[in-house]
């Protein structure tokens, strides 16, 4: 299973991004996952729970958006979906096609972050509340 190493790469990129934004707290990382990326959603979700333990963002969430395979169909002269990964045929006309346009995505698209100043105020407030 290579999902753990993928999850660790996601954390590395989030750490870089956080540092670039002055140490922003990362609450969630949104990614796009294509069916042809070779990465399994469920395995990646579990791997992320492990990977975040040794990161500065132990409570962060991984939000996975699964994309569809989009091909160019020579018969229809159009872009469209395929029947399935096991049957690479145009879902409109049924012609076989290997001309994959999208479906290999393995990328971070967005992050939910909080500025460190507001985060520390927030935690100070929480501390006060918890003392009461």
């Amino acid at each position: 299973m290579h999902e753990l190493s993928i999850a660790l790469s996601i954390i590395d990129i989030a750490v870089e991004e956080s540092e670039r934004r002055g140490g922003a707290i990362v609450h969630a990382i949104h990614i796009k996952l294509g069916p042809l990326s070779g990465v399994v959603k469920e395995a990646l979700s579990s791997a992320y729970l492990l990977a975040r333990e040794s990161s500065p963002f132990r409570d962060s969430r991984l939000v996975i958006e699964e994309t569809s395979i989009i091909v160019h169909c020579a018969a229809c002269q159009a872009e469209g979906r395929v029947e399935s990964m096991q049957l690479m045929c145009c879902s409109q006309c049924g012609a076989p096609t290997a001309d994959v346009i999208r479906g290999r995505e393995l990328e971070i698209t967005a992050m939910e972050i909080e500025d460190p100043s507001t985060a520390s105020n927030q935690s100070a407030l929480n501390t006060v509340v918890s003392h009461e």
Binding site: M1, H2, I6, L36, M85, M88, E112, E114
Partner: protein, 227 residues
Amino acid sequence: MNSQTRMVEVRTKILKDNDAVARKLRQRFHDSGVFVVSLVSSPGSGKTMFLEKTLLALREKYRVAALVGDLATDNDARRLARAEVPVKQISTGTVCHLEAQMIENSLSEWNIDQLDFLFIENVGNLVCPATYDLGEDLRLVLFSVTEGEDKPRKYPTIFNTADIAVISKMDLAEAVEFDLPAARASIEAVRPAMQTIELSAKTGAGMEVWFQLLQSRQSESRQSVPQ
């Protein structure tokens, strides 16, 4: 999301580091004039035998070498060393696939300008290697007649990322009642028009088709610019 949390757009490929090394390698291979072929398959599909026979045949005419990925043992590398060409083992430990950085590291002591062909045998695994670009010119996926005709439908991604499919151990086809038309249909379903070679490295049947294809791909690549 609480009021202090905001959403920021981040467009970053998760494997950007691997992709960057792979691009660098592809350029370096092209500049050195070496044609690089990687092999992926499940364990026991006959990759090592296929590669051994390929190295033996090519070394008559070409300068060839191989990198062999393996989890723990160096058995495959030792087998390939019998072909008396440079062979190097890449021990991946618990890692189930090769990454571009491992290729770059293992080439540090070799002068690849001196090579015509470099073969990279990936770890036996039909899942994980699909995700990683190694900078190769050609990716072969092998599956043997003893594994069953529906292997491509079970592992569509690896067939989708490979350039050529090899059905190996054809000498055993009859004994295991291998249904060749069904296997071809299975490949066609997951990767329409994929080039497929049926062969037996043991008897040599079909190997000539492979060598011709390899040589024509090599001469094509010498006239092109890497992507």
